[in-house]
């Protein structure tokens, strides 16, 4: 009988909860420091951009948001696959915990992108490949949340887990084709395109961007893990209710 890899014990609430309990204060601190330092540097200390003036500073919010929105979906698909393959409760919990945070950052990507584009190029929106893909990403998140909540039965999240996992997985597998088709579509109609920075980056700008990215990453991780703990605890409680309700000796 082979022993399972020692990391597997973190799939159990008995280990996951204390571990995340110790991790979370650190993550919140990193978030506050990173965002604070990054935005201070980026918004107030970094020099004005030669081409784009002051409003380029929205980038310190837009770039981290876009990254997080994308990586959260990838992580959701990862945990979806894990859950379907190994059927651990924690995998599905993490998958579900990622969705609201991912949605938030996808929407923030759209809002900050639009607010950045308006003073730069005069329009609130442009149907280029990147922005259209960002909108589709937001729709992917909303679809996931809509499906899981529609399929869920009270006290039994398994069907919602599986439907959601399949959707997340199929969506992720579809992403390369989706991005290719949107890019192809855009070149077809010679649409406009919003380009990120072309000119050189001052060191304070880079530092500000890195710090704020790290800070927002830490925040996203903290929010997701907090939600995961809550979901896991709720599931453990609802599972414990059955034996008690039937009057088991346990």
């Amino acid at each position: 009988m082979t022993t399972p890899h020692p990391l597997w014990r973190y799939a159990s609430p008995a280990h996951f909860l204390p571990l995340t309990g110790r991790l979370l204060p650190l993550l919140w601190l990193l978030a506050a420091l990173g965002i604070g330092a990054g935005l201070t540097l980026g918004l107030f200390i970094a020099p004005t951009d030669a081409q784009q003036g002051e409003t380029y500073r929205i980038l310190y919010l837009h770039v981290p948001a876009a990254w997080i929105a994308m990586v959260c979906y990838g992580a959701m698909a990862f945990w979806a696959l894990w859950g379907l393959a190994w059927k651990t409760r924690l995998a599905f919990v993490l998958m579900r915990a990622l969705a609201p945070t991912g949605t938030l950052f996808a929407v923030l990507t759209l809002i900050t992108g639009s607010l950045w584009g308006r003073p730069m190029w005069g329009t609130w929106w442009v149907w280029d490949a990147r922005l259209t893909s960002a909108l589709l990403l937001a729709l992917l998140y909303v679809g996931f949340i809509a499906l899981t909540t529609a399929v869920d039965t009270p006290d039994d999240p398994r069907r919602g887990d599986q439907a959601g996992a399949l959707l997340a997985l199929v969506g992720a597998l579809n992403l390369p084709v989706l991005y290719f088709s949107v890019t192809w579509w855009n070149t077809l109609h010679q649409g406009a395109s919003i380009n990120l920075r072309g000119s050189s980056i001052a060191p304070q700008m880079l530092a500000g961007l890195l710090l704020s990215t790290l800070g927002f990453w830490a925040y996203a991780g903290a929010a997701v893990l907090t939600r995961a703990r809550l979901l896991l605890q709720a599931r453990v409680e609802s599972e414990a209710r059955w034996p008690r309700a039937i009057g088991s000796l346990a």
Partner: protein
Amino acid sequence: MNELFGEHGAFVWISLAAVAIGIAVELWTLRRATR
């Protein structure tokens, strides 16, 4: 204050506000679920 971020500074402020509101809402929902 208005000129802090140039003539279009309002856009920067609104972006900051959007992020702050979004984070606040998320944290509030997490706090509410903890109770």
